[in-house]
Symmetry: C2
Subunit: 210 residues, 2 copies
């Protein structure tokens, strides 16, 4: 991002702040000013890029008015900021510098009828990815009442054994150790082991946004 970060040494323990989910009014104006300044743009420049009047921009930045949605869109386009960033309270709120380690076999067990999950790195929450290691117990697609589906995306990497990935829109595909797969988990899906030993995979899921 910004270029002046010496940071050669590795020091200081982290100060991990707890997860905060407050509902503050969200200072849009201040935020926008940050972005503009960051890019070293003048109001004039910003006006040129967004197609909005200097005065309008000024008022917005000073929280003297609430822009309409299409103005917000012009802002976002023109100032090249992405919206989530705009809405998410502050840039580096709670998650700065946090870290979680899980030793081999030390994850949180979470067995189901068809999978034997081991949740990894659970001590931090609000993650953008949910990692786990799973033993695939299922041996036949019929063991799943219906295919699993939940909004989001998933990635899996086969650690041991062999398995078949069934999904709603594709033919079943066989995977073995070292193969990987990325898919939309909103599409119905299920895994079954095909090797003598149950297959073991690393599975990463994005948290479902509803």
């Amino acid at each position: 991002m910004n270029s002046k970060n010496p940071t050669p040494a590795v020091t200081a323990k982290a100060t991990i702040s707890g997860a905060e989910q407050s509902l503050e009014p969200l200072k849009l104006g201040t935020r926008l000013r940050q972005f503009r300044k960051q890019r070293d743009w003048t109001l004039e420049e910003a006006s040129r890029r967004t197609g909005l009047a200097r005065s309008t921009l000024s008022k917005i930045e000073n929280d003297q008015m609430s822009p309409t949605f299409d103005v917000v869109q012009k802002l976002v386009k023109g100032l090249e900021i992405d919206i989530p960033q705009l809405f998410t309270k502050s840039n580096l709120p709670q998650n700065i510098g946090r870290r979680a380690l899980t030793r081999h076999g030390e994850g949180t067990p979470h067995p189901t009828a068809t999978y034997e999950h081991e949740l990894l790195c659970t001590e931090i929450s609000n993650k953008r990815m949910i990692p786990f290691k799973s033993v695939i117990r299922a041996r036949d697609i019929t063991e799943f009442g219906e295919l699993v589906r939940h909004n989001g995306e998933e990635f899996l990497y086969v650690l041991e054994g062999a398995m078949t990935f069934y999904s709603e829109f594709y033919e079943p595909v066989s995977l073995s150790a070292g193969d990987s797969l990325y898919y939309d988990s909103g599409m119905g899906h299920a895994c079954v082991s095909t090797s003598p030993e149950d297959a073991v995979i690393i599975w990463i899921s994005t948290p479902n946004s509803h």
Copy 2:
């Protein structure tokens, strides 16, 4: 999400549409209506929850006006929708049912001075996670001019060998096969191999929102 999805069989090949990043006006209204209907709420109900007038909601949903920013915020809060979801163009636009498979060793090579990356599942873009498999060539922290940092989060799982994870806010930590680590990648970080053979890891990164 909605409950009536029989989907027992596994049929039909997918129609994977290409990555589209168009700059459409973004049908906010239609979108909102979707959300409201999904929850089976009446305009009255929505009005109660958001504190906005029924009429206002109606007009917004019918794209008859562009709501102000603070109204948008009330909507987001009241209708319990999260923003990325709202702004990311349509819920099931292009990404529905897409899938990518990468066979063992068939990823896209991407060598650097310190790592030997193999990008996985690259044929689909706009992913919410970027997976790769990496051989850690670095043998000493000094090989990194300065620690790597980029907004987002990362997860890694050690496949083979042993390594040490250096970071800005923590003491170095040693990992070996089977261990996993989740961290904020905005915090400076770097990996070095410590085993006779170079360590190999699965690495998943979230795309940097700037």
